[in-house]
Symmetry: C2
Subunit: 194 residues, 2 copies
């Protein structure tokens, strides 16, 4: 128990990734209401008392799984330009929403936010944690003089990631070859004629 | 029966709006799987044989409700400028996603698309029908010289509406006073320093 104060959200038992995967898979399949720690224990092959020791409630477990699962991890590239960094970021979002097995989990797990107010709180944390990590892309761009100092990272991320969500999840349409480059160019340079 | 050929998706029995409202309310509350025409009949007070006569399946009824419900209707303004027209469009999306009673129906009904492949097909049609109606905004802008002729209306709509969805539904954050104007300005003029 003395190590409790050293725990971070990414700590966990040896089989944390298996537990997170089982959690997100069951969340995707059954929704938040249908998810149980017993079900996660069964699917992951980890004793349920072990799971409860680390995450004392379903909410705590879902929160940890959303931010700690390697499958949903956010890898940011430093390409040397804002256009390049945002293309890498948007490409990662498109991959998350379209390429199995991550997409099979991410889309229903995030989409289920509209069905459960409790899940919605964890999804908020998931997006807040990602934005905190994405800020470096914008800080670098301001330092390079590519963005004004008062640029709004959340707005830029939401325009890009939101377009991907709408196209892929709500329209159910394929993402064209040049979607990422065009979306980033539009947000940075504008669609209007000069 | 002879008038069948004159039917459009917006035709329907006298109490069509009540039927659509009941359909969307039950869809929001129970999901696509839990929705039944019997339930819609009970909630709307319309005999189920009447409903079946117009919409022979649950899928047909949901499709008609999504595109025909006045609650989800899209009102486009002609403000004389692209910035103004897109602000009006985005304001309408924000209202749809935040102001009850429409928001109580629209968010869960559209969000449930991730839980049901059959519903997803109807949501696709819903967005395709809206885009077809939104095109006039872009045609007018091209005619006024505000947009190049090869501008991509779907991309512009998805950047704006997607940002609203992400902010409101997934981040669960309030929409600031100037969100609409800033989002439209970014998409038209770009965020990058000149």
């Amino acid at each position: 128990m003395s190590d409790a104060q050293h725990r971070t959200p990414r700590d966990g038992p040896r089989k944390a990734q298996e537990i997170f995967d089982a959690t997100l898979t069951l969340l995707a399949a059954r929704g938040y209401e249908g998810l149980t720690i017993e079900g996660v224990a069964e699917k992951s092959g980890v004793n349920k008392t072990t799971i409860y020791r680390w995450w004392p409630s379903k909410g705590a477990l879902v929160g940890a799984a959303l931010t700690g699962a390697r499958r949903l991890d956010l890898v940011l590239e430093d390409t040397g330009s804002l256009q390049g960094d945002l293309e890498a970021l948007l490409r990662a979002v498109v991959t998350l929403l379209t390429v199995p097995p991550a997409a099979d989990i991410a889309v229903p797990a995030l989409g289920a936010t509209t069905q459960s107010p409790e899940l919605a709180l964890h999804v908020r944390d998931f997006f807040a944690e990602r934005l905190a990590r994405e800020r470096i892309v914008f800080d670098r761009a301001v330092a390079r003089g590519e963005l004004p100092a008062d640029a709004d990272p959340m707005l830029l991320v939401d325009l890009l990631a939101g377009a991907a969500w709408l196209r892929i999840v709500l329209r159910g349409l394929p993402v064209e070859e040049d979607f990422v480059a065009r979306a980033v160019r539009t947000v940075l340079k504008g669609a209007a004629t000069a």
